[in-house]
């Protein structure tokens, strides 16, 4: 048993590469649980960050600083009455959240959290992600249609139109990145791991490649991905001030929570695409500029350090809690949570663990940045109207994307073109 574990760990490849069914299953489980936990954390963070942007405090009662709020909510959703509208198409109504959640989670099969931290390294990885994530719209349409109600119907129709039109711009931006992978090796790759490796070989993140082309492509993707996940300012399918809750108006309880889960999982998925394609995936910042064993060592301490800082914040928070009997449990809870984080941080200091989690850490940090952007947008921007959304998609992003694609191709071919011209010239 131990042998099997070490044998796999020594291969330094994904379970898919190692051909290990057992490890693939374990990875899938870890990813599923991890994503669910991330969604829960995201839920809390979104509330807190949004609240602070809106000069509120956010949840403060359930657990210290509302840390247990997402769990309380999850519990509430699970024990809530499961309502299916009388005239709903029961089968479709039932399957819609399943479809949405399944697709959102399936995309994570190919997301490389590290060189060896992916379920498998598919050679069409990015295509697979796009394909699966666009299946999610099917679930949304199913939800909207089967609810047999006007608001969900309109929400789902908006959603489908929006997703289809923004996928075009998104695809163009992705093609730019894929083009960039082919520049030095001559053959491009659609593999997610391959794309990151290409960035490692080219000693740059693609966002800085061919400045400003890489950045433009990234910007197009960054806008399209917000629209793709139905988040503010493109949250028309669930625009609560217009359509009450859009496609999931009629859903409640557990089914609704599946939509919620899927929405956040989709956000994580598209963010991980963005991270992989433009922000160097699991690579730490400046791997070539700040290289050498000392820098490696310094950077490898960062994950542990982050956790220790969080631990310290928790302990300080616990110390600053109001000293009254009612807050006693909360204070103790926060202190224990801090200690838990501190323990985890200490574990991460172990050399073997340290090396293995580093890539996951950087990947997570980069995704967290996108998550923050999502929340930030939501806290700041008004919502587009439907026709304006379409206008932005088709009239701004699509032409820009095409232009960037062509420009990237030309720029990439410049050496060949110039040498060809030089060769023709006498």
């Amino acid at each position: 048993m131990l042998d099997a574990i070490t044998k796999y760990l020594n291969t330094r490849g994904t379970p898919g590469e190692a051909g290990s069914m057992l490890w693939a299953t374990i990875y899938i489980l870890i990813i599923t649980i991890g994503i669910s936990l991330a969604v829960i954390a995201m839920n809390w963070l979104e509330r807190k960050i949004l609240a602070h942007m809106q000069i509120r405090l956010g949840p403060m009662r359930v657990g210290p600083h509302g840390l247990l709020q997402p769990f309380a909510d999850a519990l509430k959703l699970l024990i809530k009455e499961d309502i299916i509208p009388e005239n709903a198409d029961k089968l479709v109504f039932w399957s819609a959240p399943v479809v949405v959640t399944m697709t959102a989670f399936t995309t994570f099969l190919v997301v490389p959290f590290g060189r060896e931290h992916a379920v498998t390294d598919m050679n069409i990885g990015i295509l697979f992600m796009l394909g699966i994530s666009s299946l999610g719209v099917l679930g949304i349409i199913m939800a909207g249609w089967s609810s047999n109600s006007h608001y969900p119907l309109m929400g789902s129709l908006r959603s489908s139109a929006q997703m289809v039109s923004y996928e075009v711009a998104m695809g163009l931006a992705i093609v730019c990145a894929v083009l960039m992978t082919s520049l030095q090796t001559g053959t491009g790759t659609l593999s997610m791991i391959g794309i990151v490796q290409a960035q490692a070989q080219q000693h740059t993140w693609f966002i800085f490649k061919f400045f400003p082309l890489g950045f433009l492509a990234f910007a197009i993707f960054a806008i399209a991905m917000v629209a793709e996940t139905n988040r503010a300012p493109f949250d028309l399918p669930e625009a609560e001030s217009e359509l009450v809750a859009g496609f999931h108006t009629e859903y409640s309880g557990f089914r609704w929570s599946l939509f919620f889960l899927a929405e956040y999982a989709a956000m994580l998925a598209v963010s991980s695409i963005a991270v992989t394609l433009w922000l160097g995936g699991w690579m730490r910042p400046f791997p070539h500029w700040l290289h050498g064993p000392i820098w490696d060592l310094a950077f490898s301490f960062l994950p542990a350090l982050t956790l220790l800082v969080l631990c310290e914040l928790c302990l300080v928070g616990a110390a600053r809690m109001p000293k009254i009997p009612q807050m006693k449990i909360q204070t103790i809870g926060l202190g224990l949570f801090g200690l838990l984080l501190g323990f985890a941080g200490l574990v991460l200091l172990l050399p073997g663990v340290r090396e293995r989690v580093q890539d996951i850490y950087w990947f997570t940090v980069k995704i967290a940045f996108f998550m923050y952007l999502y929340i930030w947008y939501r806290g700041t921007f008004p919502r587009y109207r439907f026709d304006q959304l379409m206008k932005v998609g088709w009239k701004v992003l699509l032409p820009t994307g095409l232009g960037v694609l062509i420009a990237t191709a030309i720029w990439g071919l410049l050496p060949q073109i110039s040498s060809a011209i030089l060769g023709v010239l006498p």
């Binding site: 509120r56 109001p322 009612q326």
Partner: protein, 153 residues
Amino acid sequence: MSLSPLIRKILLVDLIKGLKVTFDYQKPSEAITEQYPLERPVVYERYRGLPRLKVDPEKGNSMCIVCNLCALACPEQLIVVKGERNPVTKRKEPVSWSYDLSRCMFCGLCAEACSTDALELTQDFEIAFYTREGMVLDQAALETGHEPKRYEK
């Protein structure tokens, strides 16, 4: 000059300005949330809250002289006072008081009408009751003031 708006538009200046505002407000010190049971709101002097019937601090009898002005001034007619003349002191004393708080809109007209300043609206704002009947205050409840329920946890 005409170029500048275009550049601003391309550089998303308008959006970034908005983002900056929300970003700056994230400081916890900016939060205005009041953690109610822990932090008590400031209630100002003139606040019109729970009504109270004053008792003469020296003599210990009610300051109400049953002039009925409050009952007449009340738009909702929710005050009912009955009194009779005390043969000893020759002044009218309330026999029964009823103040239906469930219909009160705290306009303060009764306190303004009171000729002896016996009735006043206090700063007590925590006036939740478990029953509708409980909201009809009698003289004792009005005089002692309703035991302020401190909502804690």
